[in-house]
Amino acid sequence: MNVLEQIEKENIRHDMPDFRAGDTVKVHIRIIEGNKERVQIFQGVVIRRRRGTVGASVTVRKISHGVGVEKTFPLSSPRVEKIELVSQGRVRRSRLYYLRDLKGKAARIREKGIS
């Protein structure tokens, strides 16, 4: 095997659940403050999932105190403790950038399996 592939294989994480754009997830992030470490949970809608090996990432959007917040997490980063799938959404595209222009009721995503 190619050395490059081998290095990527060592750095890649395979413990991520199967989720896609439109799903609601809880991302547990390790936060290092000084020398203390704690876990913070960021819950929101996946608006983009970038495929790839070590460079794969996910962008999660939530509304926090009336302000839209988006965070992008590298999926292979050890800073991400785990990702929990909360619910699956039914959406018709893979990049949900249109949610940025919507708010309130219009920004809801229909749940999968419920018509």
């Binding site: 050395v3 490059l4 990527e8 750095n11 292979s76 050890p78």
Partner: protein
């Protein structure tokens, strides 16, 4: 000329690794060495101290007779790439000795990496020197041209060194102060932080500092 030993290498490609704290580091993977000492050069004979090394084994049937004759003393076959490294004392090395990554480098070292940058062909001043150019629309008749290249009746010529369109890239570039992130001796691999000049599979000269 740095009087420091180094190695020859080949760029394999780039990827990303994560440190234990979770910091993503862009890295370049370099296949480096082993280099075989082919000749020692001394002040007494050649006028300067250096060792000549070969990298990337080549079949003897692919090399010509003079090249094979030159490599014969080392007894390790012939090589695609032969370069010199200036060293203060060539007598430390023996002809035929193999120099491996771990002999020269260790993790955390700062190195300089020299390579040949990717060729871009004949390019205009906007790409080559970062000139601003003009606007594309709104009746502009000045797009990507270099503009005025000098005065008129005096001096009646273009001053030397004026930045004009021409061949870009494919030149020797040294990236200084590159940090070694990881070494894999069993695969002769160096993993360094950031990018290095040139295309994949390109020859690199790696100097210790």
């Amino acid at each position: 000329m740095p009087k420091k030993i180094g190695l020859l290498g080949k760029k394999i490609g780039m990827t990303r690794i994560y440190s234990e704290e979770g910091v993503a580091i862009a890295v370049t993977v370099i296949e480096s060495g082993p280099c075989v000492v082919l000749q020692k050069k001394t002040v007494a004979k050649e006028g300067y101290n250096a060792i000549q090394v070969g990298f990337d084994a080549k079949k003897e049937s692919r090399a010509n007779k003079p090249a094979n004759g030159h490599a014969k003393a080392a007894g390790k076959g012939n090589f695609y790439h032969i370069k010199e490294f200036r060293v203060s004392d060539p007598e430390q090395y023996q002809v035929g000795q193999e120099i491996h990554v771990t002999d020269v480098f260790k993790v955390g070292d700062i190195i300089d990496v020299t390579g040949t940058s990717k060729g871009r062909g004949f390019q205009g001043v906007v790409k080559r020197y970062g000139f601003k150019g003009g606007r594309m629309t709104h009746g502009s008749m000045f797009h990507r041209a270099p503009g005025s290249i000098g005065c008129s009746a005096w001096p009646s010529r273009v001053i030397k060194g004026k930045r004009l369109p021409g061949h870009m890239g494919a030149s020797q570039v040294t990236k200084k102060s590159v940090t070694i992130v990881d070494i894999r001796p069993e695969q002769n691999v160096l993993v360094v932080k950031g990018g290095v000049p040139g295309a994949k599979q390109g020859l690199l000269q790696i100097f210790t500092k």
